[in-house]
């Protein structure tokens, strides 16, 4: 079995994985970082979004071995110790989550949006979230959360 090494949330990690193992499986099963979720098997829901070398990416669309040498940040690595990231804070302030299942992917995706397009309009925010499905919130409060984070990030 191939060995894969990468940096996850600032720590060097490596593991033996079957070639077909996806990055999300490596994170959840090898590293037990279960904050990254799996909501589909067709790469559409976005529950699995993490940052790979600074860009948001669906970790189910990547083989673990493709992330060789990469810098990966998962939801577990976003807060600064006990201090929540402004995006996490914004989701809490605006009730941007209910069951919490889509939330890690939603937050990671939103952080990338605000970095890339800090002045995104409501319309652009909604379009950006096209790859993240939430069944609980109706998106209204997710959009509000991101708008708050545009001010605080």
């Amino acid at each position: 079995m191939p060995t894969v090494s990468m940096t996850v949330n600032g720590k060097k990690v490596s593991g033996e994985v079957e070639g077909r193992i996806l990055l999300v499986q490596f994170l959840r099963e090898n590293l037990r970082l279960t904050g990254t979720h799996v909501g589909c098997d067709t790469s559409q829901c976005g529950a699995c979004v993490v940052h790979v070398n600074g860009d948001s990416m669906k970790s189910c669309t990547l083989l673990a071995v493709q992330a060789e040498g990469a810098e990966v940040t998962t939801i577990e690595g976003l807060a600064d110790g006990d201090t929540l990231h402004p995006m996490q804070e914004a989701f809490r302030d605006n009730h941007g989550l209910q069951c919490g299942f889509c939330t890690p992917g939603m937050v990671m995706s939103a952080v990338d949006l605000v970095k890339k397009n800090p002045k995104a309009s409501e319309h652009e925010i909604r379009e950006w979230l096209e790859g993240n499905i939430c069944r609980c919130t109706g998106y209204h409060n997710i959009v509000k959360s991101i708008q708050q984070a545009q001010q605080t990030m």
Partner: protein, 791 residues
């Protein structure tokens, strides 16, 4: 109220959010037991076939495989149904067996055929491909009319596909009223089949401890005690005290995680046979063909009116798809949660409804957010909109003319329910003003100038929730009671753990229920913990569905807190050397009336556990009280939803421009959470109206079997919503609460479709099926006026 407002009515930020936002939630698939194995379920690829043979030989000897089981191995009970409905001739519904692993025949695509248990999930899945199943294909019945015509029998032994033929009301009397009517409006309605799609796929981990003979099941359930009861008593014969069911964090349910599913029984049953814990996690593709679906009604309805547009009588005939087997709640959805709601907010004096429940070769259908009530609301509000057009009345005039007046409560409907409170004129007035209906004409003209059609649609609806009084549901065929239980355990230092039988899977109970404790016991949020979801911790529970958590579960907590206060007063009286009747309790302090002698809640708690001088024959140590609460009636939330859409006549694309919901959900404990619940419901309702629809082909293959084919609502399908409340209190519970979980999904679909019809009326489009996808709308335009679409 402590901490600057954390009691009833405060928009307290959620207690549960921190763990979810930092990736520390604990969902079933996040649980990993030592030495665990993995299960993969092989499912039928045919909608209807005999199982001539299932050869598991090659799979059994594949790498990593520990065991393979089929229906022939699993000699257990079948999955039970929780409700019994009787046909109009008095005979009980047909209730065919539902084995966890198919025996002899498969009845829908996705019916479980075998389970492979292996060291890794990939090995289990690989090995399943080596199972050779010899299917004897049979013709499938997919459409309800074909099923009724008996083109093929889903269950040969019952000799029919008709599960029951039920009615409510007096048909002869109704027909007489129709004969005398000034005008009759008729409508054909299809309530499209939906796939619930909670974002967390179902999962289950089963384990068995040989030393204690105890089983544990971790599962994605809305009601772990109900699963323990159904699986333990009916399927696996495991007594309750040897079976622990844990539903940890659950990623959304919307009804689909109420039911007892085959996979729960399979992993629990197989765990001792493999001698190791077994984890099963559903792939999304398998979820599409194994989670219970929702809705799927075909109806004909007609309304008799007098010359003023007053409703005289309503007659409805409905066919309801049950799918291939009866899921846990299925039979009650199109009867007691549907036909009893057909009065809606109107004083229609006579109502008759006939419901035929039908087996087909499709996934079982059961309650999905709203369950029965959205189907009733959609039918009624589409019909009322059509009545208005045919009578030449405005959409609001016809409603106002028929509303049950605000001073008529309690109001007995002709279909069994007695409404306790409501003010339908007030919710309509408020919704019209919030929506700025007055500005609609100007907006319509502005759209027209851009070549778009703009329409407005109303829905004034009512629902019954907080299910439910045990005596009532018992008389209707429920095989369980529908109370809720709570335990309020005060610890020696005065902090409190509340054990509730309700289950939170997004609703925020850890916050809302804690607010009840803040309010009643005067404690800060940080001293309160809400515990739910584990049958070894929580005494009992009926779980969360039907917007019942606060109206039933919350009331149980209130009742247990009353007992705590009563006991604490006795303790305070003893220590303060006063008579119990002189002790007053306010803001967390017990005071002897008219004196400055007092004890803080925490001091009383400590005294309860350090009872050095208690008169033990009169006063027991400890401060820990339980209560079971059985409601007196359903609660009746209602409201008015107004939708404004813009339709592009060239492409058929419908875009929701404004969505206003003014709902009467009773007293609001946490307005932030209530608004969030309404938003989520609206998204599912608009999703049903415009995007979502489950499609089977003629052979029973699911065409919409993934997120590539089943259109889940995305952020860019919606505008921001205007959600508000206009409250009347529930008259029969102490909190005055009604429920808010389902209102959004119940009220909104007819508002959306009425708006689409309004937008296209002048182009000759007078009806519109759900989902009103661009293709459907474009086709309707083309049919109405070939020249328009051909341009």
């Amino acid at each position: 109220m402590p901490e600057g407002g954390t009691g009833i009515g405060a928009a307290v930020k959620r207690v549960e959010d921190k763990r979810f936002l930092t990736g520390r939630g604990n969902y079933t698939d996040d649980i990993n037991r030592p030495n665990q194995t993995y299960a993969y379920i092989l499912r039928s690829s045919h909608a209807h076939a005999t199982l001539n043979s299932v050869d598991t030989g090659a799979a059994t000897s594949a790498p990593g495989v520990l065991a393979v089981f089929t229906g022939a191995d699993m000699e257990t009970g079948g999955l039970p149904c929780g409700w019994q409905v009787h046909s109009k001739d008095g005979s009980p519904m047909h209730e065919p067996p539902h084995p966890p692993l198919a025996k002899g025949k498969v009845r829908h695509v996705g019916d479980p055929v075998a389970v492979v248990i292996a060291e890794t999930y990939a090995q289990a899945k690989d090995a399943a491909e080596l199972i050779a199943v010899d299917y004897g294909e049979l013709p499938a019945v997919v459409h309800m009319n074909d099923a009724l015509a008996g083109k093929s029998l889903v269950h040969d032994e019952i000799g029919t596909n008709l599960c029951y033929d039920w009615e409510i009301g007096d048909e002869a009397q109704i027909d007489e009223a129709f004969a005398k009517a000034h005008h009759v409006t008729e409508i054909d309605i299809v309530n499209n089949r939906l796939i619930p799609n909670a974002m967390e796929p179902r999962a289950a981990v089963g384990e068995y401890d040989r030393s204690t003979d105890e089983y544990t099941l971790f599962t994605t359930s809305q009601n772990p005690h109900v699963i323990r009861l159904l699986m333990g008593a009916f399927v696996l014969s495991i007594p309750e005290h040897k079976l622990r069911v844990v539903a940890p964090d659950v990623g959304g349910g919307f009804g689909s995680k109420i039911y007892h599913y085959a996979e729960e029984a399979i992993v629990t049953w197989a765990a001792p046979r493999v001698g190791r814990p077994i984890k099963w996690t559903c792939d999304r593709s398998d979820a599409f063909i194994s989670d219970a679906h929702g809705r799927d009604h075909i109806s004909k309805a007609k309304m008799a009116m007098d010359s003023e547009g007053k409703f005289l009588a309503l007659k409805v005939e409905t066919k309801a798809n049950m799918g291939a087997y009866l899921s846990t709640f299925a039979p009650c959805v199109p009867t007691y949660l549907y036909a009893t709601l057909l009065a809606g907010v109107y004083s229609t004096p006579l109502i008759y409804c006939n419901v035929k429940a039908i087996f087909t070769n499709t996934v079982p259908v059961d309650a999905y957010r709203g369950a029965g009530r959205p189907e009733a609301t959609y039918l009624l509000e589409r019909l009322v909109a059509k009545c208005a057009r045919e009578m030449g009345m405005s959409q609001t005039d016809i409603r106002r003319a028929n509303f049950i007046p605000a001073d008529a409560f309690p109001y007995q409907t002709p279909v069994a329910l007695q409404y306790d409170s409501g003010n339908y004129t007030a919710t309509l007035d408020k919704a019209e003003s919030v929506h700025d209906v007055a500005g609609f004409e100007a907006r319509r003209k502005e759209s027209e100038a851009r070549g778009k059609r703009r329409g407005i649609g109303y829905s004034t609806y009512l629902e019954a929730c907080g299910i439910a009084p045990s005596a009532v549901v018992g008389s209707l065929g429920a095989r369980a009671g529908l109370y809720e239980s709570a335990e309020v355990r005060v610890h020696p230092t005065g902090s409190v753990t509340v054990f509730t039988g309700s289950h939170s899977h997004g609703q925020g109970h850890e916050t809302t229920f804690a607010q009840l404790v803040c309010e009643r016991l005067g404690l800060p949020m940080s001293n309160i913990e809400i515990s739910h979801g584990d049958t070894n911790k929580v005494q009992f529970g009926m779980g969360t569905y039907g917007s019942r958590s606060l109206a039933v579960g919350g009331e149980a907590i209130m009742k247990a807190m009353d007992k705590v206060v009563n006991k604490a007063k006795k303790i305070a009286a003893h220590i303060l050397e006063a008579s119990e009747s002189d002790i007053e309790f306010k803001d967390g302090t017990f005071t002897v009336a008219g004196t400055d002698r007092s004890m803080a809640f925490g001091e009383v708690a400590l005294a309860a556990y350090v009872p050095h001088n208690f008169p033990h024959d009169e006063l027991e140590p400890g401060l820990d009280e339980k209560a079971f609460y059985d409601p007196l009636n359903f609660t009746f939330p209602g409201g008015c939803h107004i939708c404004e859409v813009e339709v592009d006549p060239d492409t058929g694309v419908v875009s929701v421009q404004r969505m206003t919901a003014v709902d009467d959900v009773g007293r609001v404990i946490n307005p932030m959470i209530v608004e969030g619940q309404i938003h989520g419901g609206l998204a599912q309702g608009i999703g049903q109206a415009l995007l979502e629809g489950c499609v089977y082909d003629a052979d029973g293959q699911l065409v919409t079997g993934s997120y590539m084919d089943y259109c889940m609502p995305r952020a860019d399908n919606f505008p921001s919503f205007s959600a508000g409340t206009e409250i009347t209190l529930c008259a029969h519970n102490s909190l005055g609460v009604k429920g808010c979980g389902e209102v959004g999904a119940i009220g909104s679909p007819p508002a959306v479709i009425n708006a689409v019809v309004d937008a296209l009326w002048d182009l000759g489009v007078h009806d519109m099926p759900m989902p009103a996808s661009p293709q459907t709308v474009w086709k309707a335009l083309k049919a109405a006026s070939p020249a328009v679409a051909a341009e």
